[in-house]
């Protein structure tokens, strides 16, 4: 499934994953799957107002997020990257709080997490990645941090993606454009969205190397991301990775996929479940046994439960934060609006 890139990332090929790492990858995917499934249930139970499931995209997200170097790289997500967040070790209560409607960008610290605030504008943060990455190269830094920007097949239609790829290529900015092509943008299938059929194929037009990877194979995704990061780090400019995967669930808990695809179509297009597939591989290669999987499942359930408790306990943010978070240097007019709000609303 890979395409024709010429990636150069220094002399050493990345070390193969150890058994422990493989098991860790599985545990992460398992935790993500569990949390994802739980969040849909929470929405039905009225605990959270909405959620955008990433069911089926665990391999694409965990595999790529796992490759990120948290000491120097920076990730720019959209809104469906819960698996990347988990793989990068984010505070998941802080992450999930966005779906609780606590705070749009999430409650984690993006600087410490190396993970930008959640972004609801599709393609909104792709250019941020380019700016951040260009900043790494100013003053002649080498072996630099890399920006990894996540966006979808639908987002690829936005003008900002074009501007970002062109800027990054002209400036040789260390950016990995990580496209999750999950077949759908809400109700619109990729073939009505991505002319030419592949976002990776666009890269050549900018002189950017690209990798199209089986997004349901966590190890393949990890390796592709690793080599892309190495390529960028060595000062070779950006890389496009297109992870071919499938959105197995609805677009969001408000969506009704029955209006635009049949269950049969879903089954055929989805292919094998990335989690099950990885499990079978680990079993076959003797990397993990059933006891491990059972324990992973148990831990995932425990963690999802803890996250539910966590976001419920968070409670609403104080209304005063509406005003205090706008500027670093508050303005008098906003302060008087805050005062008026406090007088009129807080004791209501």
């Amino acid at each position: 499934m890979t395409t024709h890139p010429v990636l150069s990332g220094g002399d050493v090929a990345p070390a193969p994953l150890t058994h422990e790492q493989l098991r860790e990858l599985y545990a992460l995917m398992s935790a993500v799957r569990r949390l994802d499934t739980a969040a849909v249930a929470w929405q039905r139970q009225g605990i959270i107002p909405g959620y955008a499931p990433e069911l089926g995209q665990e391999a694409a997200q965990v595999g790529s997020g796992y490759a990120v170097d948290r000491t120097r790289d920076f990730v720019f997500p959209t809104y469906r990257e819960m698996g990347v967040a988990k793989a990068m070790g984010l505070d998941m209560v802080g992450y999930m709080s966005t779906h609780k409607a606590t705070w749009h960008g999430g409650m984690y610290n993006p600087l410490e997490s190396r993970f930008a605030p959640i972004q609801a504008v599709v393609a909104g943060s792709v250019l941020h990645a380019v700016g951040w990455a260009h900043g790494q190269t100013l003053g002649g830094h080498t072996d630099s941090g890399v920006a990894v920007t996540y966006f979808g097949d639908g987002a690829s239609s936005q003008g900002d993606v074009h501007e970002a790829m062109n800027f990054a290529a002209v400036m040789k900015a260390p950016v990995v454009f990580f496209v999750q092509n999950n077949g759908w943008a809400i109700s619109v299938p990729t073939e009505r969205q991505v002319a030419g059929g592949s976002v990776a194929a666009r890269a050549a037009g900018y002189g950017i190397p690209s990798l199209q990877v089986d997004g349901n194979d966590v190890v393949a995704v990890y390796q592709a991301t690793q080599s892309a990061l190495a390529h960028c780090r060595s000062g070779n400019g950006p890389v496009v990775i297109e992870a071919m995967t499938y959105r197995r669930g609805p677009h969001s808990t408000a969506d009704d996929p029955g209006r635009y695809r049949t269950l049969e179509e879903e089954r055929l297009a989805a292919g094998e479940d990335p989690l099950e597939r990885f499990k079978q591989r680990l079993l076959a290669e003797g990397v993990a046994d059933e006891a491990f999987f059972a324990e992973a499942q148990r831990a995932a359930e425990e963690e999802a439960e803890a996250i539910r408790t966590g976001i419920e306990e968070l409670g609403p943010r104080p209304g005063a934060e509406m005003f205090s978070m706008v500027f670093q240097e508050p303005t008098p007019d906003l302060q008087s609006q805050a005062t008026a709000w406090r007088e009129e609303s807080e004791h209501v």
Partner: protein, 343 residues
Amino acid sequence: MSETTMTPVQDAEAPAPNVVTMSMQQALNLALDEVLGENPKAVIFGEDCGRLGGVFRITDGLQAKHGEDRVFDTPLAESGILGMSVGLAMAGFHPIPEVQFDGFAYPAINQIVCQIGRMNYRSRGTLPMPITLRVPSFGGIRAPEHHGESLEALFAHVPGLKVVSPSTPNDAYHLLKYAAGRPDPVIFMEPKSRYWQKGPVEFAAGNPTGARVAKEGRHLTLVAWGAMVSRCLQVAELAAEDGIDVEVLDLRWLKPIDAEALARSVGKTRRAVVVHEAPLTSGLGAEVAQLITQSCFDTLKAPVERVTGFDVPYPSGDLEDEYIPNIDRILFGIQRVLEYRRD
């Protein structure tokens, strides 16, 4: 047109009933259905407008009924959608594009301001832009970021655009049909929090121009539009308990503004409060207040009050009830105006 409870008027054998109760979503859907039926040059498009019928189902069933040439999905790019509208209009069509949510009009602002608003002028009237841009607008549904914005002040400032927002199913039906029949661009701001509220639609009784007195009153005028109209009507009821007789003026047209209706109403009540969800500073409330002050300076008993959203980004669901003018804040605004005494 699934899940509707009314009889589709145009298919009826028997004489159509003159008044039907339906939701605003149904009224809008029906209006679009009729526009497509009546105007062969009308085309509807946007993200997920076709098979899905739009995320709010406003275009539900229209592709199946009118075909893929008349109702179609586009790729996910708002500037593309609006830029394409310009070209379709130049080719003689009447485009009725949708941006999926208010906040996603921003990527298309260049096309809206510099192209849609100016092509008629630039071309000296030879290339009219009969574009009706539907924008599900305003907040109140606990949605993600950028799904609860109020862009009317921006749109109203743009030369060459007209701007309208309905607050009832009846107005939704008549204003949309009216807008879609205009030879000029109209931004049609739909109050998404009101989509599912039902109300009577009087098919024979459309009055699509100017403001509308939603409730008569003598002591004070509340000026509002979109989702804030029903809130102001609630406030008026509460105020009545205290003997305050509030008039509620549903502005409807945000460009051009019906300055005469403002003058008439406040000329009578001599006090006014403007209510909107958008941030205060440079919001449309300033224009409304200034228009009132210009026409009623001599008789105004107090400066016009503004009860609005704050100068902060539209907040997350947990805080949106703190942000959107609520009943208490509007009542406080009324109180300030009523208690105002000249020094």
